[in-house]
């Protein structure tokens, strides 16, 4: 007892005001400030990169949604020899339009206004805009009307401020006649050789179909696997092996799934090349492990007390799973599915292996028809020599990002809906 008292007595009170202590405190505070500054710096840097990326993409990409146009006056009554509007209405309208020879009419009108070489000013497929105009409003065929047609790609680029010397000269010559209009081709056309005529619709539709197939296959199989592994499977060496394999599958480079798809779906099953079906199946293989892993974690996070409660009043295993575990795990499963689907949507490499890099000039009409997807289309356009494709590539990236945002927003909406459902 005495000795303890002596030790207590001998101990000096801490000198909080001493130099050494004050220095230590200052050092601690500066370390704190340094760490905070570093963290803030890291955030600023990543935000800066993101902002830079978005500004460049949007800046370049928005020009892809516009086109440079020249006015062409077409005297339809004189050119067609008095065709009537009624010919182009109804079922036979398209066939009649084909026999009319719109292309020649447009070319003739262009030559009248812009001279012998006038045709070179215009995009080769520009006359199609006239066909579209007639189809949407047949009455123009009975009048003398002025239509704005897209110019040739180099002039378009030059007018937008990035062209070569020759095109710049042309732009200067044309001067006020040039104007900027909305490029509806870009939204409704598919791939083409002329950048003025390319469109994203084919790739967008291909992506939609592919994603649908991926979701339809990967989601149910992934969720059922996760539920079985967590709720039914015994915990032994075999299930451990399966778990390790699934974790490894999620980390396998995507191009290997492409090879697998090539070997299994194309060579073994003989499915058609370039088809959205094969693309969807291949991406489903890639997405499934992600859904299984996140699904298992979500199922694991459901409190065991809920299972016990349901079992305790005589629910069968399946009733426990479908009435209680799955609804509670669904938000988590959906989060994993979003991540997996977002990755699948942006995937290019495996699709190259199964032939989806082909030049597809018409939107796919079904799951076995040749199609391409947005990231592959971006990849293909980025490879083009023609400078007109630069802005189209950026515009396609904007479409891809918007698609991604829409998909995620939908999934987040669904997740929140299920989370508050009682």
């Amino acid at each position: 007892m005495n000795s303890t008292a002596a030790i207590v007595e001998a101990r000096n009170p801490t000198d909080w005001q001493g130099d050494a202590m004050q220095k230590r405190i200052r050092k601690r505070y500066s370390a704190e400030r340094r760490f905070k500054a570093l963290g803030l710096g890291a955030i600023m840097l990543s935000a800066g990169f993101l902002a830079f990326l978005l500004i460049v993409m949007v800046g370049n990409g928005l020009r892809g949604f516009t086109q440079t146009e020249l006015p062409v006056e077409i005297d339809f009554p004189a050119m067609t020899g008095g065709a009537s509007a009624s010919q182009f209405e109804g079922a036979n309208g398209k066939a009649n339009l084909r026999t009319l020879g719109v292309r020649d009419i447009v070319n003739a009108s262009v030559e009248i206004q812009y001279g012998e070489k006038g045709r070179e000013l215009f995009s080769a497929g520009g006359w199609q805009a006239v066909s579209t105009a007639i189809m949407s409003d047949p009455d123009v065929i009975e009048t003398k009307t002025t239509l704005y047609l897209p110019v040739e790609s180099e002039i378009d680029v030059a007018y937008k401020g990035d062209g070569n010397a020759f095109a710049e000269k042309k732009v200067a010559e044309l001067g006020d006649k040039l104007s900027t209009g909305f490029n509806s081709n870009f939204l409704f056309n598919s791939d083409a050789t002329d950048p003025m005529q390319v469109g994203i619709w084919g790739a967008l539709k291909g992506s939609l179909i592919t994603m649908f197939i991926t979701l339809m296959i990967a989601f149910p199989i992934g969720v059922l696997s996760a539920l079985y592994l967590e709720e039914y499977a015994p915990k032994n060496r075999y299930t451990d092996l399966i778990e390790v394999s699934i974790n490894n599958l999620a980390a396998v480079p995507s191009i290997i799934f492409g090879l697998l798809g090539l070997a299994v779906f194309l060579n073994l099953f003989g499915l058609p090349r370039s088809a959205a079906l094969v693309g969807g199946l291949t991406l489903a293989l890639m997405t499934m492990p992600v859904i299984v892993i996140s699904g298992r974690n979500a199922v694991k996070a459901v409190p065991p007390s809920i299972r016990e409660a349901a079992l305790g009043i005589g629910a069968s295993q399946m009733q426990v799973v479908f009435h209680h575990v799955l609804p509670l795990a669904l938000p988590g499963i959906l989060t994993g599915t979003i991540i997996g689907m977002a990755r699948a949507l942006g995937e290019t490499a495996p699709l190259l292996m199964i032939g989806m890099r082909a030049f597809i000039a018409t939107p796919p009409g079904g799951i076995v028809e040749p199609s391409t997807v947005l990231p592959v289309q971006i990849f293909l356009w980025s490879d083009e020599v023609n400078r007109g494709f630069v802005e189209k590539t950026s515009a396609a990236i904007i479409v891809l990002l918007l698609f991604l945002l829409t998909m995620n927003a939908l999934a987040i909406y669904l997740r929140n809906r299920f989370e508050t459902r009682w």
């Binding site: 015994p234 016990e308 079992l311 305790g312 009043i313 005589g314 629910a315 009733q319 009435h323």
Partner: protein
Amino acid sequence: MTDLVDSASTSESSTMTESTVPAISAGDGPLKMTTRNVDVFYGEKQAINGVSIDVTMDNVTAFIGPSGCGKSTFLRCLNRMNDTIPIAKVTGDITLEGEDIYAPKMDVVQLRARVGMVFQKPNPFPKSIYDNIAYGPRIHGLATSKDELDNIVETSLQRAGLWGEVQDRLQDSGTALSGGQQQRLCIARAIAVDPEVILMDEPCSALDPIATAKIEELIHELRGKYAIVIVTHNMQQAARVSQRTAFFHLGTLVEYGVTSDIFTNPTQEKTRDYITGRYG
């Protein structure tokens, strides 16, 4: 201490089990469940060693004992909740109304509807109060119409003493209730499927004294309608709510008898030590 354990598991347990079973006497009501020589193993480890107990209709049976003595494990054998633990193995005979509940032809789902359970922590489903109660009758098809289901929900809540507090907000979430109300909701949920036996695994351990008093009162009222088995480590609670008490120690049944006898005049030294607070 080791000597004590050894003697308990060898000499005493064999003699004790035989002397405790006939504790059921006339006036106790019909026999509901019997267990004979029940052993439970978790892998290699033996958690329950040769327990024989009878549960009667008219009595509340309490299982007491120090933590880890196997009382909850044994309780969970009575409705085969141990089936959910892959490494658990149960041997011996457990019967409900003379039927062997571990027989291969026994339907576990139906058994759990007949032997309901209330857990240590209140565990209402994250659904409305109404759906919490209606879930059991729905999956067992006990109600043929909406009115009938409404009726089951109302009577179950009334029996659990919760109707007055929740009748205006049946569509509110069950998880929004207070702890005591949640536990009574869980009791109502167990009652709703009209069980024969209700097992309660330390139902008040997560509750404050007022909520505990309400649950105990409820147990009194339910007595006779259902055979009730309650696990508790609160000896005063066992003395208050039960008519039969079983004292478990290290996986063996040390003593089983009329509650007042166990608390005032235990025959085993270990029981006396536990009740007087020498260990546990």
